[in-house]
């Protein structure tokens, strides 16, 4: 075990997979000579050379398409978007090509590609650069969607994503690159996709949180512990396929659920998780499911408004108290 940041964990995962399989390569804006806009690809150009670590022009649709083509002929590309906000330009390749190719070719073409980069809110980068787009990508059959919340998860899940034969949308969180945690040193350490993780065990209320909301939910759970409420915090880690079984098992135990996310509420992943809980565990609910989501507004630039738009510990505490019938 070593204690490293999420940034370093991702770097390790990419380095190890580049070393392990020569079909793996990474491309994107500034990933090579500049070591990556967020330094996730630091040192990789030096180590693996310009055939494996490739700087692209500012053409998201173009290099995403290059990646899909490379995957069709047997390579395993990692496509970095400087942020997922720019992946919006590449959605035709991600959704119409990558997600559909296996199906439309009658199984002839696998697309083992990873689209990765930071998503969600950052620090005062305003409306166009603060978006959490996981519900977009999770909507489409053919894509897998992964969102890690700890260094170990980031490393283990990214390695699994690179080794996976399906296109994977791997969304990191810009605010969390510096978060530290213990990561196993074993170069074959992986975490399977589609398996949720119970970040904290509890008995009274289940909080389902992902990405940025996991540390927030854990802090809320600490506060609630002092108020006599025992929270179980579940991180699905993979949005599609969703490990609903682990969530339902928890709900059967606690009978109360808060779902937390930083993205907008309407048609969000919270909505989907809530519906699946209702379908699978209606008879175990003792209170309506409560969701805590980002504000339903474009992300404000002003610091004070930005803080209000992103769910915080107090909002999750209030939601838990509500479903626990304490207020």
């Amino acid at each position: 075990m070593s204690t490293i940041t999420i940034r370093e964990a991702l770097n390790q995962a990419i380095r190890e997979e580049l070393a392990r399989d020569e079909k793996v390569f990474i491309m994107g804006e500034e990933v090579a000579a500049y070591d990556g806009a967020y330094k996730v690809t630091k040192g990789l150009l030096h180590e693996f050379g310009p055939r494996r670590v490739i700087d692209t022009p500012i053409t998201e649709l173009g290099f995403a398409g290059l990646g899909v083509g490379a995957a069709m002929v047997g390579l395993r590309p990692i496509v970095e978007f400087m942020t997922f906000n720019f992946s919006i330009l590449a959605t035709d390749q991600i959704i119409n090509s990558a997600a559909k190719m296996l199906y439309m070719s009658g199984g002839q073409f696998k697309i083992p590609i990873v689209f990765r980069g930071p998503g969600g809110s950052a620090f005062q980068v305003s409306s166009q650069h603060s978006q959490a787009l996981e519900s977009w990508y999770a909507y489409f059959p053919g894509l897998k969607v992964v969102m890690p919340s700890t260094p170990a998860d980031a490393k283990g899940l990214l390695k699994s994503a690179i080794r996976d034969d399906d296109p994977v949308v791997f969304i990191e969180q810009e605010r969390m690159y510096g978060n530290k945690g213990e990561v196993p040193d074993d170069p074959d350490f992986t975490i399977p996709l589609g398996v949720a993780d119970i970040k904290r065990e509890g008995t009274d209320v289940t909080i389902v949180a992902r990405s940025l909301m996991v540390p927030v939910a854990l802090k809320a759970a600490e506060q609630l512990e002092q108020q006599g409420v025992s929270c179980e915090v579940i991180d699905p880690r993979t949005i599609r396929p969703l490990d609903i079984d682990t969530i339902v098992e928890s709900v059967k135990k606690t009978n109360r659920v808060v779902v937390a996310e930083e993205s907008h509420p309407i048609c969000g992943v919270n909505a989907e998780i809530s519906m699946q809980i209702m379908e699978r565990a209606f008879d175990y609910l003792d209170a309506p499911i409560k969701r805590v989501s980002g504000a339903d507004v474009p992300m404000p630039y002003a610091k004070n408004l930005e803080n209000l738009a992103i769910p915080d510990v107090a909002k999750i505490v209030a939601a838990v108290r509500e479903v626990a019938y304490l207020d």
């Binding site: 009978n255 209606f282 008879d283 175990y284 609910l285 003792d286 209170a287 019938y325």
Partner: protein
């Protein structure tokens, strides 16, 4: 026998809709019952099997008497049966001359004429404009059983179903009275309570002495003259005087403000909220003389002035000194007079003419923290207003939740002289003036 109308004292089974041995579900129609007003459907209050019909079709039972037993199919009901009054076998005396064998009739034509049912069904069908007897008021009576939708969390509903717990016996502690897991657990942990809510005293197991050590201790004190008079008066009232009740909620902020304002002018005035209520009552009575009235057997007496009786609690009872012509007096006059009368009432120095002959009375228990209550009419007056405590409450105004001083009043009306709509219009005026006391000077 459930109470299916406000004035019902006994009911007659018009028709059983289930046979002995039939499964019944809570809320399912069980029988049709003729009350004094109409034929009402009675719903089952528990899940189970209709084990025994105690009161057969055409038979009557007073309120609270068992009319049937619902239980589990196998349950031993012999002890319950032994408690049932005169347990006449159900179908024995069919009022109709139908040669039907044992079991009660299966779905028969809806209207089965049962003999003694003078004022039953048709009440609602005839025009009520000219029919002076029993028409206007009397809102359709819901059963005394808690009506409306029960709110239960899915988990609590499942737990109750699995443990055979009757949700009607459970008090919900969640938002809006929602029954939640905690409530089910509490109900289940109670020591072997009776499974269903009992509408009559729980029968004592035969042969088992009632587990009470000795009769309660007591002391005897002679009933005072006033106590006896109160008793006599109230029986006189509740017996022959058909009461009905109208409640409304009043925003008191302006009245309270007015009181503060007046008392700030002269601290000696000491105007109370009750004084304002007296004044407003008198003003409203002047606008609704039909409420300022008395039923006198052969005639209805309408009064010209508002002589307001004000109930005053005294050492051994209560008495209602009268503020004469309150409609013509100023607030300060009323305040001074009430203060003076109450003082003499408490020292028992009121003259009979000072506590009789009111045209309308007010009873205020607000100072005891009572939110609302109903008062008993002091005959021959036509009505009495019961005033509850004024307290800050969240209310919705212009779609905003705001805090207002809220007071609830309930008017008891003598239905022989005041009808529902008449009383309601008076209360409307009363509320309007009290909420905007400037009307007093307009």
């Amino acid at each position: 026998m459930p109470k299916l109308s406000p004035t019902m004292e006994e009911g007659q089974i018009a028709r059983w809709l289930k046979k002995e041995g039939d499964k019944v579900a809570m809320g399912e129609p069980l029988a049709e019952i003729d009350t004094d007003k109409a034929t009402m459907e009675m719903q089952a209050l528990a899940n189970g099997v209709l084990r025994k019909i105690i009161i057969g079709e055409g038979q009557s039972a007073p309120l609270g008497e068992p009319i049937a037993i619902i239980g589990e199919a196998e349950e031993d009901i012999s002890s319950l049966l032994s408690q049932a009054p005169a347990a006449a076998p159900a179908p024995a005396q069919q009022p109709q001359d139908q040669k039907q064998p044992e079991p009660p009739p299966a779905p028969a034509p809806a209207e089965q004429p049962a003999p003694p049912r003078a004022q039953a069904a048709a009440a609602g069908s005839t025009s009520n404009a000219t029919n002076g007897r029993q028409t206007a008021a009397a809102p359709a009576a819901a059963g005394s059983a808690p009506s409306g939708r029960m709110i239960v969390s899915p988990l609590a509903a499942r737990m109750a179903a699995e443990s055979g717990l009757d949700l009607r016996s459970v008090q919900g502690s969640g938002p809006g009275g929602r029954i939640i897991k905690k409530d089910i657990e509490a109900a289940l942990s109670q020591p072997k309570a009776a499974p269903a809510p009992q509408r009559y005293p729980r029968p004592v197991e035969p042969g088992q002495p009632v587990p009470v050590a000795a009769p309660s201790a007591y002391r005897d004190e002679p009933a005072t003259q006033i106590r006896q008079t109160i008793a006599k008066r109230l029986v006189t009232s509740l017996g022959p005087v058909p009461h009905f009740f109208l409640t409304t909620e009043i925003e008191m902020d302006r009245a309270a403000e007015m009181r503060r304002g007046i008392n700030a002018l002269d601290p000696d005035l000491k105007i109370s909220i009750n004084d304002i209520i007296i004044k407003v009552t008198a003003a409203a009575l002047m606008q609704h003389p039909e409420v300022n009235a008395s039923f006198q057997e052969k005639f209805v007496r309408y009064y010209e002035r508002a002589d307001i009786g004000v109930a005053v609690a005294i050492e051994d009872g209560l008495i209602t000194p009268v503020v004469r012509a309150a409609d013509q007096k100023s607030l300060s006059q009323i305040a001074a007079e009430v203060r003076e009368l109450a003082e003499r009432a408490r020292s028992k120095r009121l003259k009979p003419e000072e506590y009789t002959g009111a045209t309308f009375s007010i009873s205020n228990l607000g100072m005891f923290g009572i939110d609302e209550f109903t008062a008993v009419i002091n005959p021959p007056e036509g009505a009495i207003l019961a005033v509850g405590a004024m307290s800050p409450k969240p209310v919705v105004r212009d779609n905003e939740i705001v805090v207002r001083q809220i007071m609830r009043v309930t008017m008891s009306c003598d239905h022989r002289v005041i009808d529902g709509a008449t009383g309601a219009k008076f209360l409307q005026t009363f509320k309007k003036i009290l909420e905007n006391p400037l009307y007093l000077v307009v």
